[in-house]
């Protein structure tokens, strides 16, 4: 019980530093992604590190999921950003407004879905560990 608790605390601390590093990278790469995407990624990292890292499962698996989540988030936003850029070029500024309005909803799709997948991965690892 105590060992499990120590492992969880260690995971949380290591996860916190990983989150700080990722956040730092995101902040410095603001020119790659727009503000909304960067903020969504930071919120995702914060929730992921502070909650998911406290659950059972190997540290490497959690770090892997966190990195995959960030890559998906960046790709997701890059794709939609490129799409809106091209669409605005051809159809005018009004489509950009639509993109900005829909952006939070679009981001929530990958955040929540990835959250579900991450929990499933960690739960399956817990089953393996126990069984």
């Amino acid at each position: 019980m105590l060992k499990e608790k120590i492992v969880r605390i260690r995971h949380s601390i290591l996860g916190f530093f990983t989150g700080v590093i990722i956040t730092y990278i995101i902040i410095w790469s603001f020119y790659l992604v727009n503000n909304e995407a960067a903020l969504t990624l930071i919120i995702f990292d914060f929730l992921f590190v502070s909650l998911v890292f406290r659950l059972n499962g190997s540290f490497m698996k959690k770090i892997g999921l966190l990195l995959i989540g960030n890559v998906i988030g960046l790709l997701w936003n890059s794709v939609f950003h490129s799409f809106s850029y091209v669409a605005t070029w051809y159809f005018g500024e009004s489509l950009n407004v639509l993109y900005v309005i829909l952006n939070p909803l679009l981001n929530s799709i990958w955040v929540v879905s990835f959250w579900s997948i991450s929990l499933s991965v960690l739960a399956s690892s817990r089953t393996v560990e126990v069984g």
Binding site: K5, L39, P104, N107, V112, L119, A123
Partner: protein, 428 residues
Amino acid sequence: MIVEILEASFLILTFLMAAYLIRHYVFTLAVLNHTSKRKKAAVSTRNRSYQPRVSILIPAYNEERVIGRILQGMTKLTYPKDKMQVIVVDDGSTDNTGQEAAAYAKPHDYIEVIRRNQKEGGKGKAPALNAGLKHAEGEIIFCFDADYYPQSDIIEKLVAEFTDSNVGAVQGRVTVLNEPQNLVTRLVALERIGGYRIDQQARDSLGLITQFGGTVGGFRRGLLESLDGWDESILAEDTDLTFRVYVAGYKIRYVNDAECYEEAVENWRDYWRQRYRWAKGHMQCFFKHSLKVLKSSNLRLREKIDGLLLLSVYFMPVLVLFSWIIGVPLFLLRPPQWFDMVWAFIPLSLYSFVGNFAPFFEVGVGAYLDGRTRAYWLIPVLIFTFLYNILICTKALADLFASKILRRNCNHWDKTVHTGNGNSYITS
């Protein structure tokens, strides 16, 4: 000037959404940090020797398909039968509820059936419970809905909390019995996980306002009588009683391992009816209790804050809709510097009011702690119940205001229909 007003309104709404989001984040963290589990279990075990006489009220209106199930559950309870009184209140049923209950009462002398005629019955749960209370002899009064099925040792687990004289009421956990039935029942199950496994557990651990959920709970008889029982003018009689208990200076404890299984609504129409009633009742409670909560000398500051957030929870889907409505023209009129950042809040606040008003991370962690591996996959689908709740709560608020203006009675109790399909999930 209009733009400035819109900006200020949008900022206030975003602040409110962020407050709820932070609240649910703290709740999730609190449950993850809940380390006193073993200590609490030891206390519960020790208190098992406390066995006062209890009365269990089961209000039933046209529940012939499920009444047998709960009475079967009552006969299987391990609590000493000589200290137990089960009162079925047949609330003017037009079906065979009374006969079904009477058939169970015949061989079990601790089961009684009270019949209310069709003129006085069928007007809601509170009048039926008050009628049952008049016949109750127990020191502790429990109430269970007719569509529930209790764990065999649930009374021992709940009664144990009453050894603390500050505890006025106790609440057990509600779990969905017919979860595998269809998408609606699965989503309701997820809402329940967020609402009980995290929300209620966290409120209990943090010493906030633990909510009596209207069923799977009990009260000290003296307290209940001093509060004049259930308020028949409020649709959410459970939330109303919760706040009256706290304002009176008592606490409500939540016992997570005292599980009871409910038959969840099976289609979107019944979901609407049930949530509409909850939303309207909760809003009535907001108007009745907000000032009392603020003024109460029996509540600490954190309890007052949590109480107000709890009372306003059904307004939030309406406010989310309002923030969208003012947010779009505001963006088109003049996007200020802070506006980009505020937009990023919306995806998270959007999900913070999902279903049972729990955000995705809360439901996810709750499901994980429960070991509900397959349930995770439906978390993204909760967006539909959230959108549905926006419509439900907006209609409830509009109707409430309309009834106030037109001085109409808005307390029509739209009964949830129970099909008895949950029976097939019980193994004898």
